[in-house]
Symmetry: C2
DNA sequence: TTGTACGCGTTATCAC
DNA sequence: GTGATAACGCGTACAA
């Protein structure tokens, strides 16, 4: 493991000169430079990051705290990692998959802060978590703000009670687009919504679209996060007389849509002929379903990229604007065979 | 950011004494110890890991190189991370999702080695990669061995040409179990296999089970990794007369099984009544399919745990046994509704 | 039982 | 243009 000292000896110059060549700062004689570069190549020099961190009092590590490990989330992290790597940072990932309230999460955040990374990224909790990220977010962000630690939240899935720096996606817009598509391109008359009603992000888009269409919302009873119960809801809907039944259902999320779809199949309803279906997230399961599920895709790569950009600005010392950084990215309707 | 020096001043003792209390090594007077502990609590001391790494010439970072970001893989990484965290290591993750041959991978490995982590973990490439991990593994492991960098491979999905330290799973056993289940518990007479034939891991188990049953293997033509082609294969099978058709199909992997299942549905075949189906991996999509897919689950959490254990032993300096560390973990049949 | 002092590899200030 | 050299915070050999 070559050091600056070894390079200096090899090139027959001082440490300081080697350092100047490597940092290309100040003037160095052409011949001297060539000598140093030859030494670097010969010894295969790699800087010691621990020493650099110690000296500069700056970490080269960005810590990601992941509350989920599902495909869309990890795609976000992968994109974030790529952009941060290009900026010279190493990305560490800590998983905290056990669902819990804000207190446990805050403890983990404090532990991470104690390791003095250059910044911290919070990546959202999964679908089935009774404590969604936006809900426990104030408790998580408090220690970060207190320590003045640069941070960013990737897609908190809702509006946190307190302003924070986050990359958001416009769920409402995607759902609105889906509803209008069902009505205008597919001629559906009775478009219902299936999902929890305490999360407004998608519901708002649904209701806005129905207002545009001049129709009344149809909210199907949501039985909770159990897949079996969602499937049963699909069966119940299938048992309804055709006249009393919606001819399209927009669903809160892909896993819920697929459980519901299974119930429709159980009941012998033809999809999309009798009932059309739209999910949300574009998980791998959506493309693999039968029929392949039309869904609203989130821009995972862009979320990661935007998160990296915000974090790098905060690390560079830029102050958050009033109300926090808040980039809102569009979602995209992916039309498959359930519509 | 409190330092040892600050603690020493606060407690009115020397740095060395503070250090002894923190490391609980050697004897320290009871009163002195209490003073130091009070100072630690008051200043909220957290050791500077960069300084520690510099001094001890030991890294506290384990680098994970991930060639995929799918759910089962990330579950392995999450488990690995948890166990390494408990051992005091920080886990950094580098994603290298662009499918490529061994040369690009080897370059990334060399870059990681240059950062001098305590160890490196290789996590496998995805289903659809034309260069599966076990295939490019020799090129990846060479620079690791050359640098004497502790490493471990999580589930290389095949037998690499060269011995290396890896956690493997017994795919053959899971498939064998599935075939015997179909024959004995479900009375299936004509059990076929659908998947690539250049990967022997699952095929071997299939053939072994048929030998036990005294039957001839039925290998369905595999059209390649395109989902549309796999679906078409399902349709073709559905079009066959019932007598010429297998009554059960064991498939190489869940995504392939689900595409094939879609083709069966397209062709009006009832699953499992007419044709039973078994996948491999237990991806989230399997449970969400209709009908929910019976599949062979890999023990993700155990893979991560075993990988952490092997890596920690290598970091501690234990030499690899002849032929490399090689823990083989069992797979488990998850019976759902396609059988 | 406690304290002093050195060095890990890097960066950056100062003098030549 | 270049070379000494002093820190950064921690761990530990050696003194006291």
């Amino acid at each position: 493991m070559a050091t600056l000292k070894a390079l200096a000896r090899e090139a027959g110059v001082s440490i300081r000169t080697v350092n100047r060549v490597l940092k290309s700062q100040g003037y160095v004689g052409g011949e001297t430079r060539r000598l140093v570069e030859a030494a670097v190549a010969k010894l295969g020099y790699q800087p010691n990051l621990a020493a650099r961190s110690l000296k500069t009092a700056k970490s080269h590590i960005v810590a990601v705290l992941a509350f989920a490990s599902d495909e869309p989330r990890m795609a976000q992290v992968a994109a974030l990692e790529r952009h941060l790597r290009e900026a010279g940072y190493l990305v560490s990932v800590t998983f905290h998959l056990e669902s819990g309230d804000g207190k446990q999460g805050a403890r983990v955040v404090r532990e991470l802060v104690g390791q003095h990374p250059a910044g911290i990224v919070l990546v959202g909790s999964g679908q089935h978590d009774p404590h969604p990220l936006w809900h426990i977010l104030p408790a998580l962000v408090a220690p970060l703000s207190a320590a003045r630690m640069p941070y960013v939240v990737l897609d908190p899935r809702g509006e946190p009670a307190q302003a924070c720096d986050a990359v958001k996606i416009d769920r409402g817009q995607g759902v609105r687009e889906a509803v209008l598509f069902l009505a205008r391109e597919r001629g559906r008359k009775r478009i219902a919504f299936f999902g929890p009603t305490d999360d407004r992000t998608r519901l708002d888009g649904y209701e806005a679209a129905l207002r545009v269409l001049g129709r009344e919302p149809i909210l199907l009873d949501f039985p909770g996060l159990e897949a079996a119960a969602q499937r049963e809801a699909g069966r119940k809907l299938a048992a309804l007389p055709v006249k009393a039944r919606p001819d399209a259902v927009v669903v809160h999320a892909d896993p819920i849509a697929l459980s519901f779809l299974a119930g429709l199949h159980d009941g012998g309803v033809r999809v999309p002929q009798e009932v059309a279906l739209v999910g949300f997230d574009d998980r791998p399961a959506a493309a693999l379903a039968w029929p392949p599920l039309t869904t609203v895709a989130q821009p995972s790569a862009e979320i990661g990229k935007a998160g990296a950009a915000i974090l790098l600005r905060k690390i560079a010392g830029e102050r958050s604007p009033r109300g926090g950084w808040s980039q809102v990215l569009p979602t995209r309707l992916v039309v498959r065979e359930t519509t």
